[in-house]
């Protein structure tokens, strides 16, 4: 192994990663609290009432960041699963399984808040529309990943089997993202686009981005704390 690749894999060893993960988790936990507090303040007190939807639109400050996280966390999970398959590093599998419960949670929150938003604006709690259906499939992919992992006792085999599922399931993410363009859906188009000027009030956008960053920091803090638990468990089993 060359010096360069040695450097690259330095933190892929659970033992060197453990203290770094602890520091990062603490920093991100504080950042999450501050960002979410700021996001809630802007979202609930500063942002103006929407001209069409009244106060009901304030669900956006949870719904959109949660939906972003649900897709983003799945991609990161699949990335770590693929890294585990390619390099056979134990930490990769731990990262993937640490992200799954938080990803599933944000997927559920996106569906739940979407339902509570759909009722007053569309008149229905649920419709079998492309966006909603593909997001529901994402929730089942997270559940399938966790169930498969839990059902295999040998950790390396469990990592490999669940990695294949995670990688195959990643095709669903672009389907969710582009579903509003590809199909004629009831769900509105993308709220924020990198190529178009923002179509909403600046304070609405700021509130949403603050919440998104807060959820991001929250996810990192929770996932890294979970990875540290997995490392501790592994050490305990090695000691036996």
């Amino acid at each position: 192994m060359t010096a360069r690749s040695l450097h690259l894999f330095w933190f892929s060893s659970p033992h060197t990663f453990f203290p770094l993960a602890g520091t990062l988790a603490r920093v991100c936990a504080v950042a999450a609290a501050v960002l979410c507090a700021a996001g809630l303040y802007v979202g609930l007190f500063v942002a103006p009432t929407d001209a069409q939807q009244g106060e009901a639109y304030r669900i956006i400050f949870i719904h959109v960041p949660a939906a972003w996280m649900s897709m983003f966390l799945y991609v990161v999970m699949a990335f770590w699963a693929a890294m585990g398959l390619a390099f056979n590093t134990r930490l990769s599998g731990m990262m993937a399984s640490a992200l799954a419960p938080t990803g599933a949670l944000f997927t559920f929150i996106a569906l739940w808040t979407g339902s509570l938003w759909g009722k007053p604006t569309w008149g229905a709690w649920w419709v079998w529309d492309a966006r909603l259906t593909s997001e529901l499939i994402l929730l089942f992919l997270y559940f399938g990943f966790m169930a498969l992992k839990a059902s295999i006792e040998e950790p390396r085999r469990a990592d490999r089997a669940s990695a294949v599922l995670a990688i195959v399931g990643v095709v669903n993410v672009p389907i969710i993202y582009y579903s509003v363009k590809w199909w004629n859906t009831l769900h509105q188009g993308a709220s924020v686009s990198l190529t178009k000027a923002p179509s909403m009030a600046a304070t609405m956008l700021v509130g949403m981005l603050l919440m998104a960053l807060g959820f991001w920091a929250y996810s990192i803090a929770v996932a890294l704390t979970r990875v540290r638990c997995s490392i501790r468990e592994m050490r305990r089993q090695e000691e036996r």
Partner: protein, 42 residues
């Protein structure tokens, strides 16, 4: 204050979203911290 809580008649939908999100995230954190405590105590 009561006007703020009423959310222009959408209180159930808005607070239903915020409330459930807060409770679920709190449960995740509590479960995780219990796991940390269990594992670090000898």
């Amino acid at each position: 204050m009561s006007e703020f809580l009423a959310m222009g008649g959408y209180a159930f939908y808005v607070w239903g979203s915020y409330g459930v999100t807060f409770v679920l995230l709190a449960i995740e954190v509590i479960v995780l911290l219990k796991r940390v405590k269990r594992e670090t105590s000898p």
